[in-house]
Symmetry: C2
Subunit: 249 residues, 2 copies
C-alpha cells in the first residue's frame, strides 16, 4: 500500500492541477496533516503507550491490538484524541488481562491530555498558500474529529481569517460532502477538495462528481489508507506538497 | 437554586408565550433533556460509579470530586459521554490515590460505552409538538456535546424529518448563537430558542436579542444551573412542559 503511494508521488501532476483549477469556485481543505501536523502526535503517543506496556508484549503485537480496539470502537467513539485515549486505556486493560497498575492507567490519561494541549504546527507553505488562494477563491475547511479540539486547533492556527466556513464532520463520507456543498451552494464540479487522506478527502469527493487534489503526508494512519493506483478520474490529481499548487496559478 | 426554579414553574406563562410566538420565523430546540432524556442516564452512571468507588469515600464526597474533575477538564474535553468517561476514570484514579484495581477501571470504561449505546427516549409530547410547529415555522436543533453521539441520537429519534438544520456547537454561547442566526439568515427578534438549560439555551439567546422559552427538566446538571429569578426580559417565558406550547397557537 505504501509502495503504491510512492509511485503516485513520482508522477508529474502539473497538467491535472491546471485543469482542476479551471472551474473551481470553492476550495475545501482537510485540516489534520494537510494544514498542520497531527498524525505525528498520535504516532508519538502510540510509541509512548507501547513503552508503558512493554511488559505485556512486543511493540508490533501491541500496535495491532491498539488498532483493533480503535477500529472496533470507531462507530461508538468516532475520531479524535478523546476516542484515542479511551481506546488506549481499553487496549492496556485488555492486554494486561485486567492487571494494569493504576499508575499506568493514570499515565495513559495524562498522555491523552498532553495531546490535547499540543501546539499547532503549520505544515510548510500553508500560510502562504491560503493567503494567495484566499484572494481568488472561497476557502473552507472540512475536517473530522472532536468538535472542540478541531476548533481549538483552528483558533490556534491563525488561519481562521482566510476561511469562509469551517465544517467539522462526524464522518467524511459522500452524504456529508453533499450536505456541505448544498450549504455552500456550489456544484460538485466547482468544488475542489485538498487533503492527505484518499479515503476521507479524495474518494468521496470524486464519487459525488467533485474535484480532488491529493497531497500525501508521510504519516497517514493505516485506517485512512487507500490505494491511489486505483484512482482513474479526470477530476483527480496529486501534488508532492501544498506549495506546488502555486506553480499552476 | 432549585427553590428559585420551582417558583418560576408555578408562574403562569401564557401571555408571554403568545407574545413570543408573534414575530417568530425560526424555532431552535435544545436536544438533551428538551427533546429526549439525557441527564437521567448521566445520573444513573454517576450512581453506578459511586457504588464502584464506595470503598474510597461517601457518595457526597465522591460526587463533589467528580464534578470538580469534570469542571477542570471542561476546556480540554468539552461536553459529552467520552469527556464524562475520561473524567470518571480520572476521579477514580485520583480518589484511590492511584490504587484503583484494573477491573474497576474496565467497569468504568464499559459504563461509558453502555451510555453511548442507550436508546433515545423522547420526552412526552415532543413528536406531536414538532409535527405541528414544523408546519408553521422552520425548526432547527442547536445542541452541544459529542458530534457523533448527537448525530446518533438525532437519527435514532426519528425527528430529523421535521428539522431544517442541525447545529452541534462546542459551547452554546453568544458568539456561536450569532453565527447560527447568521447562517440561518434570521434576525434575533425572529428567533425563538426552546430548552431546559438557562445557562446554555436561554441567557445567551436573550443577550443577543433573541426570544427564549424555558422548559425545565427535573434533572438538570449542576453545571448548567442558573437562577431564573434574575431573568427580567420581555423576550423570556417559561412553560411547564413542551406540550404547553400548543395551547397558545
Amino acid at each position: 500500500m505504501r509502495a503504491a503511494r510512492r509511485v503516485l508521488l513520482s508522477r508529474p501532476a502539473s497538467g491535472d492541477i491546471c485543469k482542476l483549477f479551471k472551474d473551481i469556485k470553492i476550495i475545501g481543505f482537510d485540516a489534520d496533516d494537510t494544514l498542520w501536523h497531527n498524525e505525528p502526535f498520535f504516532r508519538a503517543a502510540e510509541k509512548r503507550l507501547l513503552e508503558l506496556l512493554e511488559g505485556y508484549g512486543a511493540p508490533d503485537y501491541l500496535a495491532k491490538e491498539l488498532l483493533a480496539v480503535e477500529v472496533k470502537n470507531m462507530p461508538l467513539y468516532g475520531y479524535g484524541i478523546k476516542a484515542f485515549t479511551l481506546s488506549m486505556l481499553e487496549t492496556a486493560l485488555k492486554i494486561s488481562n485486567n492487571t494494569l497498575p493504576a499508575q499506568t492507567a493514570a499515565a495513559i490519561l495524562e498522555l491523552g491530555q498532553s495531546m490535547l494541549k499540543k501546539p499547532v504546527v503549520l505544515l510548510d507553505g500553508v500560510q502562504e498558500v491560503l493567503e494567495i488562494l484566499g484572494a481568488r477563491y472561497k476557502l473552507v475547511v472540512a475536517t473530522k474529529g472532536d468538535l472542540l479540539d478541531q476548533q481549538r486547533k483552528l483558533t490556534k492556527s491563525g488561519l481562521v481569517k482566510y476561511l469562509h466556513h469551517i465544517e467539522v464532520m462526524s464522518e467524511k463520507d459522500e452524504e456529508n460532502y453533499l450536505k456541505l456543498l448544498k450549504y455552500l451552494n456550489v456544484k460538485p464540479q466547482n468544488f475542489l477538495m485538498i487533503g492527505n487522506s484518499l479515503k476521507s478527502d479524495i474518494l468521496p469527493v470524486l464519487n459525488i462528481g467533485g474535484c480532488a487534489l491529493h497531497i500525501p503526508h508521510p504519516d497517514t494512519w493505516t485506517y485512512e489508507q487507500a490505494d491511489p493506483g486505483e484512482i482513474k478520474n479526470k477530476n483527480f490529481a496529486a501534488a508532492g506538497k501544498i506549495k506546488d499548487i502555486l506553480k499552476f496559478l
